[in-house]
Amino acid sequence: MIDYNKMLSDTVREIKPSGIRKFFDLLSDMDNVVSLTVGQPDFVTPWHIREAAIESLEKGKTYYTSNAGTAEVRCELAKYLKRRFNLDYDGHDEIFITVGGSEAIDVAIRALINPGDEVIVPIPSFVCYEPIAKLAGAKGVTVTTKLENKFKLTPEELKSAITPKTKLLVLPYPNNPTGAILTREELEALADVIRGTNIAILSDEIYAELTYGKRHVSIAEIDGMRERTIIASGFSKAYAMTGWRLGYLCAPKPLIKQMLKIHQYAIMCAPTTSQFATLEALQNGDGNIEMLRTEYNRRRVVIYEGLKSIGIDSFEPEGAFYIYPNIAPFGLSSDEFAEKLLYEQKCAIVPGTAFGECGEGFARISYAYSVKHINEALERIEAFVKSLKK
């Protein structure tokens, strides 16, 4: 018998699988569940974008592109970043196209880390940063953001997490799962801590287009930050293009040059068809983004007010499409709450512990669903909460 434990890398074996998997397995065995768990838009990619992809196939554009992605899509992306976020990146040597935001994160972390480096990760956040840092030989240093600070990383928290070994700060805002964002003033305050250090920043801005009330500000816009910032983002959330797997990296030229080597050897290039779809999205898709944002904002208010009216308090999310209610007052653990809600009312939400211990007492609810669906779920949650009070 082969001992697979000896065959596998120790680092890989020691990485825990995502905590959410177990919960989804329960879910997949049940019928008629009203689910608020999904982390992707419920919209189909707008037709004009799909049509551009089809046209590219009809014209036989089925080749590899250059490693960095087509020059057209990179330059159009540079225009988009200037237009929407006031960011200046040169499409020729400061941007490249990746397979989703996920590859962008992976490449950025791998390009920066030497074994033993520390990576600061504010949590709760998207679950990939720490495992990827570990794979690269780094130590993840998590900082638990707090409800009373609206789940924002504070300068004090950042300061106390920094050691001589700190190489990289991950900045996951707008945040999944909390819906927190960072304003220009808050970014300035963090920048004051970082300025004068050699710490790099990985800013995951995948939800940048989905903020409500305030426009997203990138840390790269703050004085002295662009030179040390890598922006990882993608087209999945803003254009409802999750399945196309297209993202990008923006960074100063010397970083892009090195990161591109990883991408070149691991991936070659992002899918060509998806690049043509994205070109159309960037050229003619701004209107769709506004439409999506208006719709998400409506749903955001419905879920926030709905939860409040049945006695569940939440931090009012300002970005992404999740709400992160505080369920601790009901006296159940997050896992118990989610499991009982699923079994008793057939309504599925993600227990906060899927984001690690820091999520105890919370749950993540996605509002990437129709208002009708959300209202149906709210009725079930209300019935469940009432049964708890008896």
Binding site: I20, F24, T37, V38, Q40, V301, V302, F355, V371
Partner: protein
Amino acid sequence: MDKILKLLEDDATLTPEQIAVMLSKEVGDIKKAIEKYEENGVILGYKTIVDWDKTDREYVSALIEVKVTPQRDRGFDRIAEKIYNYPEVQSLYLMSGGFDFMLLIEGKTMKEVAYFVAQKLAPIEFVTSTATHFVLKKYKDKGVVYGNMEIDERGNMPL
């Protein structure tokens, strides 16, 4: 307050309470606004989009082009009135182009529609000709795609 109209146009089943939440307004204000729209004839009615092909009901619909001679002083309006007063007529439009009116008519059978055209529509004074186009299949109506049941196929990702 056009946002209320847009919401109701998409889903007339929304209650004033739900609309109030969605637009962050007071329920009372929403109710008042809707009443005003109804009084002023901005909101003319609420209907349901039914795919009759999925039921046992016998049903056909047709689009009919109508050419007329306009009447002195009263233009097309008088003739339009004569046409739209028939309950079979679902919609009636005055058109630019090669004919004057386009009407949408619904009936139980093709025979019934043919009867309406021959016995009621064609004999109206000043109607000079008609051309009837039966609808064979409805793909999309009022922004709704027919036969398209929405199934949530999104994969559950580990976040």
